[in-house]
Symmetry: C2
Subunit: 233 residues, 2 copies
């Protein structure tokens, strides 16, 4: 008997690496799908996502900037609340309108999640895509117990130099790990207790166990996420 | 350096198991994509497939009922020709119009491929989806050296009995392997030299090495495809 333990999904972006996973969860099994109206609009506009049967996998609107309690497809609430908020990012690459300023990005294209235990004070941030660290975001993350953060590239132009793509990390809506404008520098001094890079591109040398780049990230207090990682708050 | 050895793809259907693979071939690398106008229309209507950059992965129309020579993205022809022809099948499930007869299927929804060596007489048929074996199709396959054929289910209602779905194989556009209307019976007496089941659902007991169903298929001269299988004509 086929089974997925995943009872709900929260989509923080409509780009392919954030939505294609739905296509592998398409068996006839309950699943609650949360997203902004903007991202739900992309799912609606692409009939291929109907393979995740909306009768069994209800699509639910996710409000921004106020906490809400997610529930499974049957309506049973989870023991945590989520607050979603827009962060600097980008419209999905395949939806770009080259004639529009910023390639057509709007505020709901890329969101961060703050997830908090409803029965305690444990909380963490999940921010797999973020293209800049404005002061308000740094203030918001200050002293957080755990932040999972966008680790797409080590340097902004690494995909071009590796010959695997023509776009910079910034052009794809991501800040690099390294450099004066990078995430490692941006988090320095914020006092975040545990910092974990996620959403790491396969051109990023920090993925390699024995790379000097990984050693540099670890020396700055970062961890590199791996499959099966578990967190206790 | 990321690399895919796949230089071209021929889509025989727009259902998710025939098109979702494109989303994992999306790196910036040349790829020729052949399909009927009907299937290309589905790719066009689902912007998510633009992640396979049409500038690098040209979408080419595939004619039915006459041989053509495929070429890679740069235009270099392959040493074989393809003839595509419609077989009994179904519109992609996620595109069904319940108000239309046959759920809206049209002739180009499901096609078979005959692939023939341009420098010799080797040829084979690739038919991953087929819901019935009319006389004209049996005649066409008679004495073929190799046929790769739709092996989705063993019995028509196995997904319902397994509790993994609400649809029969027929309802999904597939003929079962077993039974008087099944593919094993339909191929008996056709004199096909090598018969290989492909596109096998994970509810099909013939997938299991030690099942009586697999033994029964083998006894009737069939092979069960596996990853990495190679064929010499």
């Amino acid at each position: 008997m086929r089974h997925s333990p995943i009872a709900a999904a929260v989509l923080t972006n409509a780009d392919i690496d954030h939505v294609a996973g739905l296509l592998t969860l398409r068996e006839s099994q309950p699943l609650a799908v949360y997203a902004t109206d903007r991202v739900h609009g992309v799912l609606e506009a692409n009939a291929v996502f109907r393979v995740v049967n909306p009768d069994l996998a209800p699509r639910r609107a996710m409000a921004l900037d106020r906490p809400w309690v997610p529930a499974d497809a049957a309506g049973t609430p989870f023991p945590f609340e989520i607050e979603a908020f827009a962060v600097p990012g980008k419209v999905a690459l395949y939806l770009e309108d080259p004639s529009a300023a910023g390639f057509g990005s709007v505020a709901e294209d890329t969101v961060a999640l703050r997830i908090r235990d409803r029965n305690g004070d444990g909380e963490f941030f999940y921010i797999p895509g973020c293209s800049a660290m404005p002061g308000w975001l740094a203030d918001r993350l200050r002293a957080a117990p755990l932040v999972l953060f966008d680790g797409t590239t080590w340097t902004d132009d690494e995909m071009i130099r590796a010959g695997t793509g023509s776009k910079t990390g910034q052009r794809m809506g991501h800040m690099a790990m390294s450099g004066p404008d990078g995430s490692i520098a941006a988090f320095a001094g914020l006092g975040v207790r545990r910092k974990v890079f996620v959403h790491i591109n396969n051109t990023n040398p920090a993925l390699l166990d024995d790379s000097p780049e990984r050693a540099a990230a670890i020396a700055e207090g970062w961890e590199i996420a791996h499959d099966g990682m578990e967190f206790t708050l």
